[in-house]
Amino acid sequence: MSRSTRSGVTSCNTHAPAGQGIAVRKDGRYDGRFGARFFSSSPASAVFPRVFTRQSFHSTKGRQRVTFFEVRHLSRPGLKAISFSLAAGELVCLSGPSGAGKTLLLRALADLDLNQGEVLLEGRPREQYPPTEWRRLVAYLPAESRWWSATVGEHFDSRPGELLQRLGFSSAVLDWRVDRLSSGEKQRLALARLLTREPRVLLLDEPSANLDAANARRVEELVVDYLQGRDAACLWVTHASDQIERLASRVLYLADGRLRQELAA
């Protein structure tokens, strides 16, 4: 599997006016026009069509670039002034001892808990997005998924299409009863459920922790393809060094609520 190649865009902090980007409408909602193609049945190679976004637009026209996802001085009880950024298409691993605040950080980024500091998506601060839209776009996948209806299919708003096949399921899985799912099945289906909402930033909390090697690779490949097809970014919590080696362009290391080092993988 090739490493993420779209990690070059990180530095400029220009605030773009709202709605300047091509993939974002005037009201700040993600333009879902690729959704139909994304979820319709199509050749496997076209599952994640490349989206023409601000980054590719700017790189061809040579205009000033906007950091795709930027966090400035994020703090909350348990976290101290976290700053980092993600480029479109980039996958960054987040590591650190348990209790270091990784989950707290992901929850704060998804704006599930009170927190201070700036978080910007495509140059626009999160306050400019409706909260529901922000959480759809900056999507947090907790380590343990929750299911509230009887069957799997009831948890999907739109048809997951090829996502299920790529994760090793047939489409009959939608009729399966939730209480019969194994933890590994739940974990993969929760990822599929998240991706059907078409997020731009994935916050994945050990998404392959309960999976065997084959399924872990399926999850990795699906996420990497999704990031490249949709110009999305991903923060992936993991402790496995081989996984970091395979996936990440950078590693963020969190200890005692501080982002201590950024090691090149």
């Binding site: 998804a110 704006d111 599930l112 808990d113 009170l114 909260p131 529901t132 839209e133 959480r135 759809r136 776009l137 999507a139 947090y140 996948l141 907790p142 998924s145 929750r146 509230w148 459920r193 998240l194 909402r197």
Partner: protein, 262 residues
């Protein structure tokens, strides 16, 4: 109407005393609670009897309003006291009081002015018992619903947040809880209406008949009061649940269980 003497009431009190003595062997703590509650009944009802007597003697809007507000304040306290996990700060009190005020007082005034049509409309013989029955039932509905809501939100916080994480709104994330809560708030009055006259003879009608009223007239009043209670309790519960759901989430639609206290 046959007047009851203190001796008559004492005979009935012997029954409670006997129960308390018997329960001493089974569950000693219960005997004390039982006696305290019985004593409270006797004292509180005697006092309200005296208050009503004085009120009927000089029926002014001011005094009727004051007594109504006092009843509302006590009902608000009762709603708050029955919450296992109530909202912290003044919200815990305000949600119940505001929704009871909006529903019970509106329904009471509507009934007095439009339906009963007394002169003056605030005549305490009608206004106070009517409001009392409305407040009592609305209070029960609201207390049940709020208790259920905060408890369910606490227990199902992970499911609610799982929905928020997928980009669903606060309203969507609690819609099933809200349905159950509304149901639990309305079940008592629905049951009361369904069983009225078949299983149970409602208290107000029974009282009027004991006082010598014509049964068919008493029944008409009972039907009126049942409908008023359904309206008052139903709208009161709706309002309380609405306010409470708002308070459970903040302006960024985060689930804020830290606003509850145990």
């Amino acid at each position: 109407m046959i007047h009851l003497s203190v001796a008559d009431l004492s005979l009935a009190a012997l029954l409670v005393l006997a129960l308390a003595l018997t329960s001493l062997r089974v569950y000693p703590g219960m005997a004390r609670q039982l006696l305290v509650a019985a004593l409270r009944t006797a004292i509180q009802l005697t006092l309200i009897g005296l208050v009503l007597k004085a009120l009927f003697a000089n029926a002014s809007l001011l005094w009727v309003s004051l007594l109504s507000l006092a009843m509302l304040a006590v009902a608000g306290h009762e709603v708050m006291a029955r919450q296992h996990r109530r909202f912290a700060g003044s919200w815990g009190y305000a949600i119940g009081v505001v929704s009871m005020f909006v529903s019970s007082f509106t329904v009471a005034v509507f009934a007095l002015v439009v339906v009963v049509g007394n002169q003056p409309w605030y005549q305490p013989q009608y206004a106070i018992p009517l409001l009392g029955m409305l407040l009592g039932n609305t209070m029960n509905g609201i207390a049940l619903a709020l208790d259920r809501l905060t408890q369910s939100a606490w227990e199902q916080r992970e499911v609610i947040e799982a929905r928020l994480m997928l980009g669903y709104s606060a309203t969507e994330s609690v819609s099933d809880i809200r349905q159950q809560v509304f149901r639990s708030g309305l079940i008592p009055i629905v049951n009361a209406m369904a069983a009225a006259g078949v299983v149970s003879l409602p208290g107000m009608m029974t009282g009027q008949i004991l006082a010598g009223a014509e049964p068919v007239e008493a029944v008409k009043y009972q039907i009126l009061i049942m409908f008023l209670i359904a309206g008052g309790a139903g709208f009161g519960t709706l309002a309380a649940v609405q306010l409470a759901v708002r308070r459970l989430f903040d302006e960024r639609q985060r689930l804020r269980l830290d606003r509850l206290r145990k």
